[in-house]
């Protein structure tokens, strides 16, 4: 390989934590102006490798070359100076500052007398945005902008610091489809300007759309680096998971749906806030109902209303034919409803607490003996949940923060299924989860339905939605515009058109 073309070259990187090897002799390089996809299951070493490049961790062995010259990256500042920019998955912006202030945070242009020259900052931010060919007002307060603009600000921030290499970790995770498309176009333009991009994503279509080459890591080893024209999607999936998964994303008809039985849940003319308008549907035991719709179509808001988080303004909800008042999550839980929220870190888990404490939080009533919590019962219950849901954790007392995304999501699901709900609502249950865990989660959903529960799945990934749903409701502007049985949906395209309202 010609070293001169490589903007970044990481040679034989090894790293271990507490004696556990996480990266073993991994080499990775990025050429000028290329998009290099980085893939691998949870715990494969992707984020560790990237953190070494960003200066968060230091490698135990191996070297890093930037522009062909060996360089020591001992801090985030070193990485920045070397032209490495990171577009964070959890955005690293200060909401109370403006876009321009964020872009030049800690690198503010100074005017006369060493005071910050805000006007120069705004002017330079405008230049950066116009080079990116996007329209963002540098004077707008970040807190008032949508997520897509946060991301653009993040990218502008990296570019303003002369980043030559941008690391993007699941950049489309929180974007609507048209926003993702805009991002892809931006990435194309950045490429043309000679900016290199390391693109971490679990979404195969994005990788094929964008990347020139792909590197797959498994268990801390580099499995392969190859141009995307030379690898098939099956090869990538196989590389990540380690075995061939066939049909994990294909629909399997289940005969457990009680078509004639009384509905478990009936929603009549539900109104809540601006985003849920006159929604009516029913759900039978054993049924999996998919909710499709664009960002802002009211999917999440419907789930929140059903779980008693958002106030219901009108309409009624019936459980087993009886009217229920779901004014708070407590009431919803008591009625047998569980919600797996879309943001597991902010809404699903107490990150600093242990896996066991998180698992048992909704189940404290079950481990009580008299007024006290019973330690032995707690241990027993949490171990059984960990086992049943195959959560990979060394010890139940480890903080849940240390787990990989997929395992964190399993903890959230396990926590709720421990309550044995009749109706389970899952909001984006596989966001940011590797493909192996994803198929496990989808299998869990199918099993639950087969056991007679009713399940509502919200997802912006259509293949996933089509893989599990028996019926799909399409929402637009807070109302249900289509109610389609799975058998009538031929393929993803059909659903796509339905969601677009064509």
């Amino acid at each position: 390989m010609n070293t001169a073309d490589n903007v970044v070259e990481m040679r034989s990187i090894s790293k271990s934590f507490n004696g556990v090897p996480v990266l073993k002799d991994v080499s990775f390089d990025v050429r000028k102006g290329e998009v290099h996809a980085l893939a691998g299951g949870n715990g494969a070493g992707k984020s560790t490798l990237m953190k070494i490049l960003q200066g968060v961790y230091q490698a135990d062995a191996g070297e890093i070359l930037i522009g062909g010259k060996p360089i020591a990256i001992n801090s985030i500042q070193d990485a920045k100076a070397a032209g490495i920019g990171m577009v964070f998955q959890e955005f690293s912006l200060v909401p109370s500052l403006t876009v321009a202030q964020n872009i030049f945070l800690a690198a503010e242009p100074l005017g006369t007398g060493g005071l910050i020259d805000d006007r120069a900052a705004v002017r330079r931010a405008r230049e950066v945005f116009s080079e990116m060919e996007v329209d963002v007002d540098p004077r707008a307060g970040v807190s008032r902008l949508g997520t897509a603009y946060w991301q653009l600000t993040e990218i502008a921030k990296a570019l303003a610091q002369n980043a030559q290499v941008l690391i993007m970790d699941e950049p489309t995770a929180s974007l609507a489809r048209h926003e993702s498309e805009a991002l892809f176009e931006l990435i194309d333009r950045l490429k043309q300007r000679g900016i290199s991009i390391i693109y971490i994503s679990h979404r195969m279509d994005e990788v094929y759309r964008l990347a020139d080459r792909i590197t797959i890591l498994r268990d801390g080893h580099r499995l392969l680096t190859a141009p995307l024209t030379d690898v098939t999607p099956e090869q990538i999936v196989e590389g990540i998971v380690g075995k061939k998964i066939e049909g994990q994303l294909s629909y399997r008809a289940r005969d457990h749906v009680a078509h004639d039985g009384a509905p478990l849940l009936e929603v009549r003319g539900l109104n809540a806030g601006q985003r849920v308008r006159d929604v009516s549907f029913s759900l039978r035991p054993g049924e999996i109902l998919g909710l499709a719709g664009l960002m802002g179509s009211g999917r999440t808001e419907l789930a929140r209303a059903l779980f008693g988080i958002d106030k219901v303004d009108g309409g009624e909800v019936l459980l087993r034919g009886k009217r229920v008042n779901l004014a708070s999550p407590q009431q919803a839980i008591n009625a047998g409803v569980a919600l797996i929220p879309e943001d597991r870190r902010a809404q699903g888990l107490v990150l600093e607490h242990s896996v066991q404490d998180n698992l048992l939080l909704p189940l404290l009533g079950r481990i009580q003996r008299g007024p006290f919590l019973d330690g032995a019962k707690a241990k027993e219950l949490s171990s059984s949940l960990i086992k049943r849901f195959a959560v990979k954790v060394a010890h139940p007392h480890r903080p849940v923060r240390l787990l990989s995304g997929g395992n964190q999501q399993k903890v959230v699901i396990a926590k709720w299924l421990g309550t044995d709900p009749d109706i389970l609502i899952l909001d984006e249950p596989t966001a940011g989860v590797d493909i192996g865990t994803k198929s496990e989660i989808l299998d869990m959903i199918r099993e639950l339905a087969s056991a007679g529960k009713a399940v509502i799945v919200i997802s912006s990934e259509y293949p996933e939605l089509l893989a599990v749903s028996d019926r799909v409701l399409v929402l637009k502007d807070g109302s249900i515009i289509r109610d389609i049985p799975r058998s009538e949906i031929a393929d993803e395209e059909y659903l796509q058109l339905a969601v677009q309202g064509v």
């Binding site: 999550p329 060394a394 007392h397």
Partner: protein, 328 residues
């Protein structure tokens, strides 16, 4: 602790020696106990001729820290829940005054009830303002600090209210239960109940979850508003008992009793390893935090430092201990 061997990887068969076990041990969690022992030994050697180790002096340390310990137990709940209560010191003062006045008017039981009523009322107001109106507890309790001490000074016209009821004085701080000073028994009771409730009950777990991630707690069906209300109510009630302990020990009610205790209590809680950002709390740690402060006060007095020097040394030790205990 057991962490050391559970994270051992499958493929490294090398036996773990003592050095690596020691390295893996999360000693920051225990820094308060280490600090306590170090300071204790330091004084024990340095002040051996000044009677530091005499049983009387050691009991004295317990006695002098009892009210702070009691207040700090309540404060642990508040801080673990990611709130703060700055009004505890003046609640203690107001409680001592109300107890003394009701005691001389109507007798023992009304006196005690009057003291508790102060905690109930102030704690409820704090809790309601924080949980229902969403005003930051820092501001609510800062305002209440002034209100409570002002009321105490106003209704007594700044005059001390003597307590002549021997039963009350014996019960609340002046007397002994058997060979053990009453104040020590009081703080032991509060620490024991506080520790059990925080670690072993549903309520305690919900307090920690609310402090750790209020959003996730809310999505889990925990009524976080109620939890916030409850911790502030507890803190107020506990502070009012501390006020009665002042009243009993000093045989009078006075608006100055307890003034400044909020800061000592917060220091004790943080020294004890409770996170200032919520989510973690240790009552036993708090006890040792309070004892460490008492130990330092006592040792510095015996060492002959004047009060200005004491303050400097005390401040430095607290900063040092918290610096050592902080997470990397």
């Amino acid at each position: 602790m057991s962490k050391a061997n559970t994270i051992a990887p499958r493929d490294t068969a090398a036996p773990r020696n003592f050095g690596t076990i020691l390295k893996d041990l999360d000693w920051r969690r225990y820094v308060i106990y280490i600090g306590f022992v170090v300071v204790f030994l330091f004084f024990a050697v340095l002040l051996r001729d000044q009677g530091f180790l005499s049983p009387n002096n050691l009991l004295n340390i317990f006695r002098q820290t009892a009210t702070i310990t009691v207040i700090a137990v309540g404060m642990t709940y508040v801080i673990a829940c990611a709130e703060i209560d700055l009004s505890v010191g003046s609640v203690a003062g107001l409680s001592s005054v109300c107890t003394a006045m009701a005691l001389s008017q109507w007798g023992l039981v009304p006196g005690i009830l009057a003291g508790l009523a102060v905690g109930l009322v102030v704690g409820s107001i704090n809790g309601a303002l924080v949980s229902l109106l969403g005003i930051p507890s820092f501001l609510v309790t800062l305002g209440m600090l002034g209100i409570a001490v002002g009321v105490a000074q106003w209704i007594t016209a700044s005059a001390p209210q003597p307590i002549l009821n021997d039963t009350f004085n014996t019960l609340f701080g002046s007397g002994n239960f058997g060979p053990v000073p009453g104040l020590v028994v009081w703080s032991a009771i509060f620490v024991a109940i506080g520790a059990v409730v925080l670690n072993r009950t549903r309520f305690g777990r919900q307090v920690l979850a609310t402090g750790g991630n209020r959003n996730a707690a809310e999505f889990t069906g925990i009524n976080t508003k109620r939890i916030k209300f409850q911790v502030l109510l507890i803190s107020g009630m506990v502070a009012s008992v501390a006020g009665m302990l002042y009243a009993g020990r000093l045989q009078s009610g006075r608006f100055q009793w307890g003034s400044g205790d909020e800061l000592s209590a917060i220091a004790a809680v943080i020294l004890g390893g409770t996170s200032l950002f919520g989510g973690f709390g240790s009552i036993i740690g708090t006890l040792f935090g309070a004892l460490l402060i008492g130990l330092i006060n006592n040792g510095l007095i015996l060492a002959g430092l004047d009060s200005s020097q004491q303050q400097v040394v005390r401040g430095a030790i607290i900063i040092l201990a918290v610096a050592l205990a902080r997470k990397k």
